[in-house]
Structure formats: C-alpha cells, structure tokens
C-alpha cells in the first residue's frame, strides 16, 4: 500500500510543509518570550490544544473527503482489505505528523542542545514522542468522527481523549498515552468498513464505543444536574422574579459546610467559636462547660484579633524524576540579581545555570549551594525540588533556603519521618506557618529572617483530621495564644470525608502538644445525600470505574478516591433507593427505545445489559447509538407486494 501512502503525502505536501514552517516559526518566536522548556499550565494547554487541533483536523479532513460522494467507493472497492487501507491512511498521517509536528520540535531541541548552553534533558527529547502520540490520538479521533455514522459516536472519541489531560507520574504518561492511542485507533479501525453505516455487530467493537459514550453522557448528566439544581436553588431562594440577590452564602445555613466556604477568615473562625459557645449552653444542663466558656470568651476577642488564612500551593504530589515539562516553572531558580537562571536538570539532578541576557553557561549548582564549573563537582540532589518564590527549595520532607549571598543552601526545617510538606512556609508578620500532611507548625518570623540554621517551631498541632480532606484553615493571634480553625470537607462534596470545623488553641511557648480543643463541630453537608452521590445514583459502575481509572493514571490529589475509600463507605438507604429506581427505570426506558426503534430481539440482550450496568447513561447511549430498524415492517410489505404496473398493463389487453 506504499502507493496510497505516497499519494496521501503528495496530497498533503503543502499542508505538511506549511505546518512545519509555521510550527518552527512559532517555536522560535515563543523562545524569545519564554524559554522553550519552561512552561506553565496555560502555555502547555494552548500548545497541546494546537497540536490536538492539527491532528483532529487532519483526520477529519482526510476521512471526510473520502467519505463524501463516490470517492468512498473508489477507496474501499479494490482488492485490498479495509484494514490495510486504514493502516496506509494512518501511516500517511503519521508521516505528516512526524514532519509537521515532530521534526520542527526536534530541530529546536537539537539546536538548544548543541548550539546553546541550555542543558537538554532526556525528558525534553521524550516530549517529542509524546507530541507525536498526542497528535496521532487526535488524528484517530478526527478519523473516527468522520467515518462513524452516528453523531453520538463522537462523544466516545472525545471522552477517551480526556484521559490525556491527566498527567501521570514521570514516564508513566507514555503508558496512558499508548492506551488512549490504542483505544482511539481501534475505534477508528472498527468504524472504517466498506459499509460504515451498517450496524456494528462485533460485540467488542460495539462495547468499545458504547462504554465511552455512556461515560460521556454520565459526565454531561452530572454537569446538568448540578446546573439544574443551582438554578432551582436560586429560584427557590429569591423567587422567580428576583434573581438579583442570588448568592450562595445567602442560601446556605449557618453550620453548613457551604456557608463556611464563603465566609472571610475572620468570619470563619468566629463561626466555629459562636456555634461552640451556643451549642453547649443549650445542650448541657449543669451550666457551661469549660470549652464552651472558653469559646465564648475568645469570641468576644475575635473582632480585635489578627486573623490570617495561609494561601499558596498545596503540594499533594511532588515532581517525579523525568516528568515531562508541562509545568516547569517550579524547576527554575533566579539568583539574587535576577541575572542567572538556574534550571533543574532531571538527568544531572543539579541546577544548570544560564545567564539571562548573554546566554552564557554559568555552571552547575548542587546540594552544596555554590556553583561549580563542571557537573562532577557538585553534590547531586536526591529528589526533584519545587522552587517557591525563587527562595525556597521544597523537598518532600525538607525546606531549604537558597542563599545566593553566601553561595549556600541552608536546611531550615526537616519534618519527622512519615510526614511530607503539604504547604511550605507561609509568612505573616507575627508568625510563619508550615503545613505538613500531619501537623501545622508555626514559626517565629524573626528567626526565619535572621538565622541561617534549622528552625524550631513556636507551636505545632496535629491536624485533627485528614489533611486531604482539609478545605481551609485560619490562624489568629490572640493575647496569649494562637487560635487555629481547621475546616474539613474538601472530600465532602462527594461524601468521602466528613464536614467538620475544629478550633484549637495553642499557648505560645507551650509544648508540642499543649493545646486545647475549643470547638469541634460537625457541619451540615449543605447538599442532600443523593446529590453528593449523584454519580453513584446515575451509575455505580461508571462512577467507580472513573475513580479507579483516573487514579491509576493521575498524581495524588485530594479528589483521589481509592478502592479502600469506596469499600469503607456505607451506602445509605436514601442513595440506594434512587439508584435502584433509576436502574430499573433505565432498563424500562431501554426496552421502550428498542421497541420504538423496532430493533430485532437479538439486540435486546446487549443493550439491556448496558442499561443494567451503566444505568441512565447506558439507556441514553442506546438512544444515541441505535437507529430505527430499517427492516421493520418491510417483510410484510414484501408479501403484500403492490401490483407492478406492467403486469397491470399486460393484463389490460384490449378486447379483441
């Protein structure tokens, strides 16, 4: 089939050449703005979208021109199997991608590697096959959409592509890329048949389309339910006519998580104190308990207090070695004068310096903190640091201060084993906060500024709950203590974590665990159970399948739900009932759709199984992917065949 490939390349020669030149120019121009390898999320998403659009555009254009008119007959009606034709078309597209996408990027990478002092890691070269795979994924998506006869099928491809948006750890991203590419290629390959409009009968090919379509519908339903509910809430809250005052914090009651989410730091802290003081007064018969009294006393002071809410990046996953450079800003360090850019090399595990104006190589920077002319002279880092404020190197267990004046890195704090940094130093004028996965540490800002050595905390407190479930926390400096309010519930929106507010008081200069719990409130979820678990109600299989699959390929984040999480959670009756009802309803609806479309009985088993497993999304996928059975009613027509006019003419012989 090399002739077909050659023909396609001849066809796309201008496109390929033009795209390659434009690509090269864009890369060159973008380099004058930011270094090629230093990306942030915005730059990455724009770039990846451009590669994706190019790939999808090529697939759509190439296939839809063949699908149009009689060219399809010309293409598939020949002594070559459809599979081989598809492979040839894909091979031509792969060549286009190699020339238009990979070659310019490779040229720039090689140029930077060999002709400039920029240090190029293996991971920078690894980006090239990733880009190639990404554009091929999109190419197959476009090809599939062009060939697949029903519009609903497009959802399948789009949703599979979404798995690429998750950045897997290190080079594992190639595993998810390969899986997505294989899935999309299989979808397009299965759709590429001499008669693409005929019903797919191979169960594997059918399932490969139906499942992602159901999955896409699942997410559309999830979004729609949230939207409908928020509009309904708005209407109920402010009346149909008065939409103007609609605001979430008006709607949520005090004592509900959502109410707390919208309060300012001072309000949030006061909320905990106020509820604790009133609750105990009403509840206990023998007068006010000690914490309640304390809460009331603190509440009286809170208006005067200095309440602070640390804000900044929460680290849930540290960079793996050889991570692709989708978000490399945190690997960059500027020296005190801002003249030398130190970029972390994953190959060397050292910072590599480059003069920002002259582009001159400035040597290497290792653990020791002083630049060396050769990589061998520096002590290598053990893990990839995050750079914060160009001043801090954050490691999972250590915080290191960069001191360019003395050419040294100072270890300022080390966490005990088993803890990792969740939020690095966050300075306020009267204290500095550090959140680990287990504890909150408060430091004296003066010793942070003036000393070089390791810091010892003024106070610390164990987080009274799971750090991943921590939604926000506030710190107030009172007369003789710190007051910390922890608001839990980051995982409560899907009912995987409790919603709670805990206020603790830390005496200044007290021991490590000298603290008192002032307030410990269970918060209302603010949403009914069925709503928080609407994914489960819609389809337990899709929801949990999503959780497990998504976690498999993604970094550790707070929304991560493991199999243990799922198993540990009971299913309340008000979730189970709607789930059962909806599944039953979906089965009935599917049955109705099949009867209405007059699908043959042989189809029933498959679609009913889909509806049983995927619930409402399965039923809607059935609606989207089946068509009215053409054969229905035609057999009876054949038997009551209308009289052909000719026989009528012949019969009507004139009377002789």
């Amino acid at each position: 089939m090399e002739h077909l490939i050659r023909g396609e390349l001849d066809r796309f020669r201008f496109l390929t050449l033009g795209a390659a030149v434009v690509h090269l120019l864009v890369l060159r121009v973008s380099m004058t703005l930011t270094p090629l390898f230093v990306n942030d999320a915005a730059k990455t998403s724009v770039a990846l979208m451009a590669y994706g659009l190019f790939g999808a555009g090529l697939g759509l254009y190439q296939m839809s021109t063949y699908r149009r008119g009689h060219l399809w007959a010309w293409l598939v009606h020949r002594p070559v199997g459809a599979g081989r034709l598809f492979v040839a078309l894909s091979a031509a597209a792969a060549t286009v991608m190699a020339l238009a996408v990979v070659a310019p990027a490779l040229a720039m990478t090689v140029y930077l590697d060999w002709l400039t002092p920029t240090y190029v890691d293996a991971r920078h070269y690894a980006m090239l096959p990733f880009l190639f795979g990404l554009s091929m994924c999109f190419y197959w998506l476009g090809a599939f959409v062009a060939v697949y006869p029903r519009r609903g099928g497009a959802l399948a491809g789009v949703v599979v592509i979404f798995f690429l948006s998750r950045e897997a750890a290190g080079l594992w991203i190639f595993a998810s890329l390969a899986a997505v590419a294989a899935w999309l290629a299989a979808l397009a390959w299965a759709a590429f048949r001499p008669s693409p409009t005929s019903d797919e009968r191979r169960p594997a090919a059918l399932l490969g389309t139906v499942l992602p379509v159901a999955y896409a519908i699942f997410w559309i339903l999830m979004g729609s339910i949230a939207l409908v509910r928020s509009v309904a809430v708005g209407l109920a809250d402010s009346g149909v006519a008065g939409f103007r005052d609609f605001a979430w914090d008006d709607y949520w009651d005090e004592g509900e998580l959502m109410h707390l989410e919208y309060l300012d730091p001072q309000g949030a802290l006061a909320h905990g104190l106020r509820l604790a003081s009133t609750q105990d007064q009403g509840g206990a018969g023998e007068g006010q308990t000690a914490p309640a009294a304390r809460a009331a006393a603190l509440l009286a002071q809170i208006d005067l207090a200095d309440v602070y809410e640390p804000w900044g990046p929460r680290f849930s996953g540290f960079a793996d070695r050889h991570q692709l450079f989708f978000d490399d800003r945190r690997h960059e360090l500027l020296d005190a004068e801002g003249e030398v850019r130190w970029t972390f090399s994953h190959d060397l595990m050292l910072f590599v310096g480059e003069h920002r104006r002259t582009g001159e190589a400035m040597g290497f920077l290792g653990l020791g903190g002083s630049p060396t002319p050769s990589a061998g002279g520096s002590e290598r880092f053990a893990s990839v640091p995050f750079v914060v404020d160009s001043k801090w190197l954050v490691f999972p267990r250590r915080l290191v201060e960069v001191d360019f004046a003395l050419d040294q890195f100072d270890l300022r704090f080390e966490l005990p084993p088993g803890e990792t940094v969740a939020m690095p130093f966050n300075a306020h004028r009267s204290f500095v906060a550090l959140l680990s996965t287990e504890r909150l540490y408060l430091f004296d800002p003066r010793s942070l500024e003036l000393d070089d050595g390791p810091l010892s905390p003024l106070a610390s407190v164990a987080i009274p709950g799971s750090e991943r479930n921590l939604s926000r926390f506030q710190i107030a400096e009172m007369i003789d203590s710190y007051l910390v309010s922890f608001v839990f519930g980051a995982r409560n929106f899907r009912d995987f974590g409790e919603a709670r507010q805990v206020v603790v008081e830390l005496p200044i200069g007290g021991g490590a665990d000298a603290h008192g719990v002032v307030s410990d409130l269970a918060l209302g979820a603010g949403f009914p159970n069925w709503y928080r678990r609407r994914g489960f109600v819609l389809s337990p299989l899709l929801q949990h399948g999503h959780d497990l699959l998504w976690n498999l390929i993604g970094p550790d984040r707070e929304e991560r739900v493991s199999w243990a999480d799922i198993r540990a959670r009971a299913i309340p009756g008000d979730v189970l009932m709607p789930t059962a009802m909806l599944t039953l309803g979906s089965l009935l609806a599917t049955f109705g759709i099949l009867a209405w479309r007059r699908r043959p009985t042989s189809d029933r088993g498959f679609w009913l199984a889909v509806a049983a497993l995927c619930g409402l999304p399965g039923a809607l996928a059935c609606l989207a992917l089946t068509t009215r059975n053409e054969a229905a009613g035609l057999e009876s027509m054949a038997s009551s065949e209308r009289a052909v006019d000719v026989s009528g003419l012949s019969a009507g012989r004139s009377p002789a």
């Binding site: 020949r78 070559v80 008669s195 006019d645 012949s650 004139s654 009377p655």
Partner: protein, 309 residues
C-alpha cells in the same frame, strides 16, 4: 482467468429492499444479470440504480434481502472478488489531488490482472498526460481515465453508472467504443446504467427497467420495443377516459392528430380503437427512445393531460 465455477450470474439480488427514512429506494428487487454481454439498466432519476450498485458492492447495507456479485455475498466481499469487479462511478470520481501517473502506478500495483496494453489503448482515445493532476482534467478526460483504469483491471463484471453523462459527442463516442471493443470484452459483463437511449439502442444486449426501486421489465431491448405500439388517429366521437384505454402509456395531441402509445396490445388495439369509433386510426412506427420514454412517463397520463396540446 476467471473462476467460471462461481455462478452463472454476474449480479443477483433477492428481495432487495432499502429504506432511507420513510422513502423506499429499492422495493423487493429480484434481479438476475447473467454473465456476458452488455446489460443496460434504465430508470428515471431516483429509480434506485445508484443505491443498487452501492448495496451490491457492499458499500451500503440493505434493509432487507440479499445480493451477490459473481456468486459472492455483497456483505462480505473479499479483496480478491473486489478485484474482479470494476466500477466506473457517476461523475467519474477519482481523487483530484493525485497525478495521473501516480494513480496508474498505484492501480497497477494493486490489481493482479492489470493489462497495460488495454490501459494505453483506452487512454489513447483521450489526450491525458501522466503529469496532470486529476482535478485539472476536463470532464471527458476524467471519464477516459476512469474508464481506462477500470478496463485495465480486466474485470469479470464492470459496473458503469452513467459513464457518458455530461460528455461531449467526441468523448461520448470514445467511451462507447472503448466499452465495446477495448480489451477482451468477451469474458466481461458490462452493467450499464444510463439515461441515454441512443447509447442503449447501440450497445445493449439486455434491457432492465427499474422504476421507484422496482424491477418492471427485463429482456432484450428489441423484445421490449416490440411490445410498445403507437397509434395515430384524428379523433373520437366521444373520447374515452384515459383509464379506460388498455395499456395506455402516453396520449398526446399534436397538430390535431391524436397520438396514443400503448403497451402489450398488439394489432388488437386497432380493433379496440375502431370499436370506440376512432377516426382514421392507424399504427405508426415509433423510435426506441420515444418508446422507452413513453413507458417511463406512463404515470403522468391523466385525463387533464389530454387537453394540453
């Protein structure tokens, strides 16, 4: 060369029905096209010829029924069988971006029975250069190229969907000549679909008429022609209603002469006309094209049309 054992039929359909939404493109079509000769397929627009070809080649799924090409079921045509079936599509669609030379090389490498002599002979009728891109060719040149490509495959069946549509006289002549005489036509069955009655009169051995997706007539063109009679008369004392005229195809009044075209009536129609008191009735000869056209337009006969001059 070809497997003679596979079947006596080049094309066969059984109860073939295709529905597009509420519309039936083919109705319970039972068609058998024997091997050898030129089979003309005639029908007004929308008679379902293109749908039939697409189904027969397995490019479209029928709603009901089965079809076979050279004895192989259309739904699962293997590549080898596809190589034995030539297709010249309406408009002679070829990928416009390809160069003639590259296109030829590609087809030559694919088709096992490729005959370069036939290709050169056919293309010789049309001035087509190998360097030209297909989209730069004129309609006639493109027709020649697609015909040359199809004939050089030396197919056992060659399906042609209106191959001369929109061609000038010279190109049309060349196409017909190539179809009839290029290569070894003897073991090739031509299935020829056209609206051009003069072409069909010239080249067809068999005539099949489709109408609204139904088979209405099949046989030799001469037999069909013989079944159509044309009578002229000066008038009736009391004109009969059109529906009472047996086998009426067409009834026109031209210059005060009534002209009635009827189907399958033989000489007996004259007696019927006499029994109606027709004045000056006599049988007149009718050309093939007029005969077929009268047959195809027979549904338009209404009593109102009589009064239209």
């Amino acid at each position: 060369m070809s497997d003679r054992d596979d079947t006596a039929y080049a094309l066969e359909t059984r109860a073939l029905t295709k529905r597009f939404g509420p519309k039936l493109a083919l109705r319970h079509l039972n068609l058998r096209i024997e091997r050898g000769g030129v089979h003309a397929l005639v029908g007004s627009n929308g008679a379902g010829k293109s749908t039939l070809f697409r189904i027969v080649l397995g490019l479209l799924e029928p709603s009901v029924g089965e079809s076979w090409v050279l004895g192989h079921p259309s739904r699962e045509l293997d590549p080898q069988t596809r190589g034995r079936i030539g297709l010249v599509t309406e408009e002679h669609t070829l990928p416009g971006w390809m160069r003639v030379g590259a296109l030829t090389t590609m087809q030559r490498s694919i088709y096992p029975r490729w005959c370069q002599a036939t290709f050169d002979e056919v293309l010789g009728h049309f001035r087509v250069g190998a360097d030209q891109r297909v989209k730069q060719l004129s309609r006639g040149e493109r027709a020649g190229l697609s015909l040359a490509l199809a004939l050089a495959q030396r197919p056992d069946v060659l399906i042609l969907d209106e191959p001369t549509l929109g061609l000038d006289v010279v190109a049309k002549q060349a196409v017909l000549e190539c179809l009839l005489f290029a290569g070894e036509r003897d073991d090739c069955t031509l299935v020829y679909c056209s609206h051009q009655m003069d072409e069909i009169e010239r080249i067809a051995d068999h005539l099949t008429i489709l109408e609204s997706g139904e088979l209405v007539s099949t046989g030799s063109p001469q037999d069909f022609w013989d079944r159509i009679g044309c009578w002229t008369l000066e008038g009736f004392p009391v004109p009969p209603v059109a529906t009472a005229v047996p086998g009426l195809l067409q009834w026109r009044t031209v210059d005060d002469v009534e002209q009635i075209v009827v189907f399958d009536q033989g000489a007996g129609f004259g007696q019927w006309l006499e029994s109606q008191g027709a004045i000056g009735a006599r049988s007149t000869p009718i050309g093939f094209d007029r005969a077929v056209n009268a047959f195809l337009s027979r549904h338009h006969v209404t009593p109102e049309m009589r009064r239209v001059a």
